[in-house]
């Protein structure tokens, strides 16, 4: 007899070999808390989606606004805020829609695809936050350098940069910015990797050979 036939035969003989849970034991289980990765993904994504907004709120204190108004930038900054909130809400909406689509009654492939898609939305959002932060910081610094008003300080010569100072300044800024954004990205990749490594592996395995 073929090994697999033997296995199948034995498999069917094992019916009595399984634990037998009672009605009450099962009843208790349905109220327990789920530990599924979908739940984790939901919470972590929510935190990530809100992180951008929280950072914005922390940095936009009264002083910050006074500075902006003094420089006549309030319109541009308000515009930037409106755009960035619109983008954030768009991401949250997309995330919510994808999340709602996740259903355990789908076939395995569709389920995995939907989970990965939901997570990808958040990935794009993080990329957007990092890139826009970089752009805003660089833009802000450039503006500051080009427009710093000499009237604020007594001795202008102290604040005048030589070429070497410029290079140093740009170098340091670029370095700090890269390290900071890089760390955020690394942390994010780690979280993402731990959560979805197995799922991704299984999805690739499942889709292998599919035309």
């Amino acid at each position: 007899m073929d090994e697999l036939d033997l296995l199948k035969k034995d498999w069917n003989k094992q019916q009595g070999n399984y634990p037998k849970l009672t009605f009450d034991q099962i009843y208790k289980m349905i109220w327990k808390r789920s530990h599924s990765i979908v739940k984790w993904i939901f919470y972590i994504s929510l935190i990530e989606l809100l992180a951008g907004t929280i950072i914005n709120i922390i940095f936009s204190g009264d002083e910050y606004w006074q500075d902006i108004e003094k420089n006549g930038l309030s319109e541009i900054i308000t515009g930037l805020y409106v755009v960035s909130y619109a983008i954030t809400f768009y991401f949250i909406y997309r995330f919510y829609r994808n999340y709602k689509r996740i259903s355990t009654t789908d076939d395995a492939s569709t389920l995995m695809k939907n989970i990965l898609k939901t997570r990808r939305t958040v990935k794009y959002y993080i990329a957007y936050v990092l890139i826009s932060t970089g752009v805003v910081v660089v833009g802000g610094l450039t503006y500051m350098i080009l427009n710093h008003s000499p009237t604020d300080v007594d001795d202008v010569s102290k604040y005048t940069f030589e070429t070497l100072d410029w290079l140093k300044f740009i170098g340091v800024t670029a370095f700090v910015l890269t390290v900071l954004l890089g760390l955020i990205w690394l942390f994010y990749r780690l979280l993402y990797g731990i959560l979805l490594r197995r799922l991704k592996k299984n999805y690739i395995e499942l889709k292998k050979l599919e035309v």
Binding site: L4, P19, M29, K32, S36, T105, M112, V211
Partner: protein, 170 residues
């Protein structure tokens, strides 16, 4: 109404619980993990139950949600001590009519199944449960051709694993 639904669901699951236990046996290595996975599958089944409209048999409907939970949703807990409560010995009960050689062969088979990846395990499980290729392709969300090819590869892989172990043992 809600109470009635609960009662109906739990009775159904109590009757067909073997399906879930079988999946737990294939995907976990010790009793504690088995219980964990069983619980998670129960929760997921209950959450999905309102969508069950009786279009199929309850047991047929269970396969999909239960396998999805085992392959995709369940996150294995890290355990301090890796115990293998039911490896080849306890994984199954001995059947009297088999001779020693058959018993040995079977325990090799079961161990080989344990070594497979998550997807291959699902395929073997569906094969052992006598599902046809149409059902397998619908449960896994792949084409029937792919299901066939994959199944043949798993079977070959299993046989090869057993051969290499038994050659090494003799």
């Amino acid at each position: 109404m809600e109470k009635e639904l609960e009662h109906q669901f739990v009775s159904n699951l109590e009757r067909d619980q073997n399906i879930v236990h079988k999946i737990c046996r294939i995907y976990t290595n010790d009793q504690a993990s088995h219980n964990d996975l069983f619980q998670e599958i129960t929760i997921q089944l209950w959450k999905a139950y309102p969508k069950f409209r009786g279009e199929a048999k309850f047991s047929t409907w269970m396969y999909r949600v239960a396998l999805n939970t085992a392959i995709t949703l369940y996150r294995k807990k890290k355990r301090g001590i890796q115990t293998q409560d039911y490896d080849s010995v306890h994984f199954r009960i001995k059947v009297d009519e088999y001779d020693d050689e058959t018993e040995q062969q079977l325990s090799l088979m079961y161990n080989a199944v344990k070594e497979l990846n998550d997807i291959d395990k699902a395929l073997v499980f569906l094969y052992l449960e006598d599902k046809n290729y149409k059902e397998i392709s619908e449960t896994m969300g792949i084409s029937e051709v792919n299901a066939r090819v994959k199944m043949n590869r798993v079977k070959t892989k299993l046989k090869k694993n057993i051969k290499s172990v038994s050659v090494w043992m003799n």
